[in-house]
């Protein structure tokens, strides 16, 4: 690992200014479960590391009937997954969070880190996409909200400007979420998704999100509009799964072939839809 300068500011302002001052080779450090590995392997070699864990407000997790759930950028996955409100009202998010890495990883890693890393297979991405989450961003020109589907630009690329810091993720309040998360992987625990998917049903609206099937996690909008207004019969589910698969553009890699991934999108979406149907 190359030498680097380390800063641990206590305010967002300070952190953002540091990032701007130190330039493009300054990197935010949150849980570190991606960054440190990349640094050890020499893939990322920042000159400056800005640790945001000293910023108190980023550790909040709160729920409000109107605003919904806010999960601060530095809330670790295990704290979120086992939070009582999250378990009751956003079960699907809790389940997805519990599937990230190992227990040890989840004690360090955060959801904000998971999505900002912008891996196509980020496990928390599909529930966030399906629930239309908003990413709250602090920047030199003030604060802004980015809809989650606009955050992901490409493999490992997000729509954040240098100097911008994600404060956390807001998930709208919904009357009643019926949701299901599916992760198909080689090994059940401590593995990356070969394919992951989330389906939520909110007031009869069905939303489908997929990961590890395209350069970014995606919503399967065609499949969603196909389902719209239809009763979830076996035939509808079968067809919707096929349509969802047609919206994906998976690759072949060391984990699976393209064909297997397409097959698994169908299976995962079918399982999702069957789960929300009953």
């Amino acid at each position: 690992m190359k030498n680097f300068e380390y800063f641990k500011p206590s305010t967002l302002k300070e952190a953002s200014e540091l990032l701007i001052k130190k330039g493009a080779n300054a990197h935010i450090l949150n849980g570190g479960t991606d960054l440190i590995i990349r640094m050890k392997e020499g893939i990322t070699s920042p000159d400056v590391v800005v640790d945001i864990k000293g910023i108190k407000e980023l550790h909040n997790i709160k729920f409000d009937e109107k605003e919904g759930l806010f999960v601060g950028a530095c809330v670790v996955l295990n704290d979120m997954a086992h939070n009582q409100i999250v378990k009751e009202k956003y079960k699907v998010l809790s389940n997805a969070a519990k599937s990230v890495g190992s227990g040890q990883i989840r004690n360090k890693a955060t959801m904000t880190g998971n999505i900002c890393n912008a891996s196509p297979l980020a496990d928390t991405s599909t529930p966030l996409l399906a629930l239309d989450a908003k990413v709250l961003v602090y920047g030199p020109n003030g604060e802004r909200e980015i809809p989650i589907n606009e955050l992901f630009v490409w493999v490992r690329k997000v729509s954040l400007e240098h100097g911008e810091i994600v404060k956390g993720v807001r998930i709208p309040a919904y009357e009643n979420i019926i949701g299901d998360f599916q992760k198909i992987s080689r090994r059940k625990e401590v593995d990356l998704s070969t394919v992951a998917s989330t389906v939520v049903k909110i007031n009869d609206e069905i939303r489908i999100a997929l990961a590890s099937v395209a350069p970014t996690p995606i919503r399967a909008r065609k499949a969603e509009s196909f389902i719209k207004g239809k009763k979830l019969t076996d035939e509808v589910i079968e067809e919707a799964a096929k349509i969802a698969a047609s919206e994906a553009s998976p690759i072949e890699d060391v984990r699976a072939s393209k064909e297997y991934r397409i097959e698994m999108i169908k299976i995962a979406v079918k399982r999702n839809l069957n789960a929300v149907r009953s």
Binding site: M1, I184, R186, R187, K188, E189, V190, D191, L192, T194, V254, R255, A256, S257, Y260, E263, M264, I267
Partner: protein
């Protein structure tokens, strides 16, 4: 017996759970330098030029070495390797140069500054292709290499060993057979994944004496290899192996030691440390060889197999100094645990541009038996015979013959099968609770002998202290298998001293006596016998002195709980403590001196096989047999497999420590599950694609099945208290049993490992398209 057969607590347990035990990488010495290795980026290339000028100038860099510094070839059975490549590289990742620097960071930085000019050579990465006549030669000078006489390298080819079995007349038998079956199988490269990475520290003092601390299974084998490579007499080399965090074969022989020593020789007395990264573990320690097998089997209508012609082609990788012996071991077990009259077996060790193949738990047996046991089920299914029945018909039994035509005088194989069947009903149909899942059951046999030269030697020393406690000195290494505890139990039993009063010392060639290697599941057996002999020697001395002291014939004395006691008058006794430094006579004079027992052992009567036919009456010390039944659940939509239950039975001769041997078998089963379901080191044109735990998966705690572990105890006559080795054999049946369960339940054919979800779905599709 008092101690043998009981679950004595691990003698190294407290040190391990508290972290007090120091592994090599924990050791730090004053002024120690850190090493890093420049590795080949080409799978096969001539080294045209190595430019170290930039690296040398980096502040903090102390020494840089290349292959030219010590060009002498070394090897355990075949001298075909250099610790640093000389003139050419033969696999991607091969060590080309090494740096010692003030810090690890500087060493790694310096390595990046070393520039190497290569000239690419044609590569060959499939062992079957490498055998072809026009294949590029990886070792053109093979004909000039030195090798142990039991091997047969073929000059001007890539074949570094060809082992043949020619028993009976297969062609005649095929004519008589009612059916002929032909099947091919493949097992990929896998890696041991010990929890502790390889680490070594070398230090050379001003007299030229070399000290090496290494996380190695075999300090004496390392010492010998280093002596040959660097022309240092054995009395000037000290190898210490303070602790080993799992070996599974990857720490047998020598790997990184040969890289740090040249650095230490040039570093003016400063010690040099090198610790492998996990990526290094995957590529640069040892891998289990990939292997292509094919079987032609002649069978009678009643299920009796009358002939097998098989071929094993091993992907030995760039160097096969150790791998050649795996080929030979496979030949001894040519048809697995079956008694077949006519056998024609060719086992070839083949060079490829892949990482170096070497010993891995099972030493070839898991690889060949995957094919043997799948072949058995395929034949049984075709004939409509129960897979268990066909095994009963063909199993090796007492009075029968092994593949090398050796007579079988002990064989608990069918006892193991029957013991498994007590807890495992292969025909019981269990419905899965999920509609997408299918439950399936399968069974497989396993068999292994210690794969070692005939005359391998062991020794032990036992020293009694003034208070009646004792030191036991051996160079058998506890690599997690529990040998420190088992050997202590043997000593406790013979000396009748409780295990907590015995301290075992291992792994220091200056102070602990000779042991060939901790491999081959041979330690309980070989080192165990030497420990017993050492303790018997000490006991004889004690009885001699006690006889004088008590005026009782030696034959009427025994050792009991720290005393020499009369077997006739139990109150007549003398404490071992009082005899530990000799006997003090009534007039105050003393005789004899300290009690030191010495014991040695070589497996009796193991002899060379015939080169032309591969046959031999006793090519191995003994065979260990066993059987496992598995119960799995397959997700027929995703292809994922979960192993739910395993019932295992092995004939261990004598259970020395129930808790430890159960743990060993559980570990073996889980390792077998890993190789069955996930493990495969993938390559593309010689480049390793998944050398990390991100994409090379081994079982987690979540993947543990319920395990019922049982034992048969048919005494091994030459074994310590009747025991035989079992740590490797127990892994062998796991993978084929899982494959048999899967294939039989779904009516599919998968003849390669691992059984990935994708292969399962493709095989199901293929079946549906038929």
């Amino acid at each position: 017996m008092k101690y043998v057969g009981t679950s004595v607590n691990r003698v190294d347990g407290i040190k391990k759970v508290t972290g007090d035990l120091k592994y090599v990488d924990d050791l730090k010495f004053p002024r120690m330098l850190y090493a890093a290795v420049k590795r080949s980026t080409r799978p096969h290339a001539k080294i045209i030029h190595i430019d170290i000028s930039k690296a040398e100038k980096l502040p903090g860099v102390k020494v840089i070495t290349t292959g030219k510094d010590f060009p002498k070839r070394v090897g355990l059975y075949l001298e075909d390797k250099n610790f640093l490549a000389v003139d050419k590289v033969r696999y991607m990742g091969e060590a080309v140069a090494a740096v010692a620097a003030e810090t690890e960071e500087i060493a790694h930085e310096a390595v990046k500054l070393i520039e190497i000019e290569y000239e690419d050579l044609p590569i060959v990465t499939n062992a079957l292709d490498a055998m072809k006549e026009d294949a590029p030669l990886i070792h053109p000078d093979l004909g000039t290499y030195k090798y142990a006489s039991v091997f047969a390298p073929k000059p001007d080819t890539n074949i570094s060993n060809h082992y043949k079995v020619r028993k009976g007349d297969v062609e005649e038998a095929f004519k008589k057979a009612d059916y002929i079956f032909e099947n091919d199988f493949y097992v990929p490269h896998i890696q041991h994944c010990p929890i502790e990475n390889h680490s070594a520290i070398a230090s050379v003092d001003r007299e030229g004496s070399l000290t090496v601390w290494a996380s190695c299974q075999s300090p004496y084998a390392v010492r010998l290899a280093l002596s040959v490579a660097f022309d240092i007499p054995l009395n000037k080399i000290r190898v210490l192996s303070p602790a080993v965090g799992g070996g599974f074969g990857s720490k047998a022989g020598t790997t990184l030691e040969g890289i740090v020593i040249p650095l230490a020789m040039k570093s003016k007395g400063r010690p040099v440390k090198l610790t492998f990264s996990r990526k290094d573990e995957f590529i640069n320690s040892f891998v289990r060889q990939g292997m292509h097998s094919k079987f032609k089997t002649g069978v009678m209508k009643n299920g009796k197999i009358i002939a097998i012609k098989d071929q094993y082609v091993w992907d030995g990788g760039a160097y096969t100094e150790y791998g050649v012996n795996i080929t030979k071991a496979a030949g001894f077990a040519a048809v697995g645990p079956y008694d077949i009259e006519n056998i024609w077996c060719d086992s070839y060790c083949v060079y490829t541009n892949h990482p170096v193949g070497g010993p891995y738990r099972g030493f070839g047996m898991s690889e060949i038996q995957f094919g043997i046991e799948r072949n058995m089920n395929i034949i049984a299914n075709e004939l409509g015979i129960d897979p268990i029945e066909i095994r009963r018909i063909n199993a090796q039994k007492v009075g029968g013959r092994t593949a090398t035509n050796a007579p079988i005088d002990t064989c608990g194989l069918l006892d193991c099968l029957d013991q498994v069947l007590e807890d495992f009903d292969p025909n019981e149909k269990v419905e899965s609770l999920s509609p997408n899942k299918v439950r399936a059951k399968g069974i497989a046999f396993g068999m292994k002998a210690p794969s070692m030269p005939n005359n391998v030697a062991s020794s032990a020393i036992v020293r009694l202290n003034e208070d009646g406690t004792a030191y036991l000195l051996v160079s058998a290494q506890d690599i997690g298998q529990g040998s420190d505890t088992a050997l202590t139990q043997f000593a406790a039993e013979v000396l009748s001293i409780p295990p907590e009063k015995i301290t075992i010392k291992t792994g220091d060639t200056d102070h602990t006596p000779y042991e060939w290697q901790t491999v081959a599941s041979r330690i309980t057996y070989c080192a165990g016998n030497s420990v017993i002999n050492a303790c018997e020697d000490a006991k004889a001395q004690l009885l001699e002195l006690a006889s004088l002291k008590l005026g009782i014939y030696k034959r009427d004395l025994k050792l009991e709980d720290g005393y020499v006691v009369s077997t006739i008058y139990p109150d007549k006794k003398v404490a071992i403590a009082d005899l530990s430094l000799g006997l003090t006579m009534p007039d105050g004079s003393g005789i004899h001196g300290p009690i030191i027992g010495r014991g040695v052992f070589i497996p009796p009567n193991v002899k060379d096989h015939d080169h032309e036919t591969g046959l031999g009456d006793k090519p191995v010390a003994y065979w260990t047999y066993g059987c496992q039944g598995v119960d799995i659940e397959v997700d027929t939509q995703t292809g994922n497999i979960k192993v739910l239950n395993v019932v295992s039975s092995f004939d261990v001769g004598k259970v020395v420590n129930p808790t430890l041997v159960e743990g060993q078998i559980e570990g073996a089963i889980v390792q077998g599950i890993g190789s069955a379901l996930w493990e495969e080191l993938k390559f593309k044109d010689g480049k390793p694609l998944n050398p990390s735990f991100v994409d090379y998966k081994i079982p987690t705690a979540n993947d543990m099945p319920e395990m019922i572990i049982k034992f048969i105890e048919n005494e091994e006559k030459t074994g310590p208290f009747g025991a035989r080795g079992v740590s490797e054999p127990a892994m062998i049946p796991s993978a084929p049993a899982i494959a048999n369960a899967l294939c039989d339940a779904l009516g599919i054919t998968i003849n390669s490992l691992p059984l990935t979800p994708e292969k399962v779905l493709n095989a199901m599709k293929e079946k549906n398209n038929k």
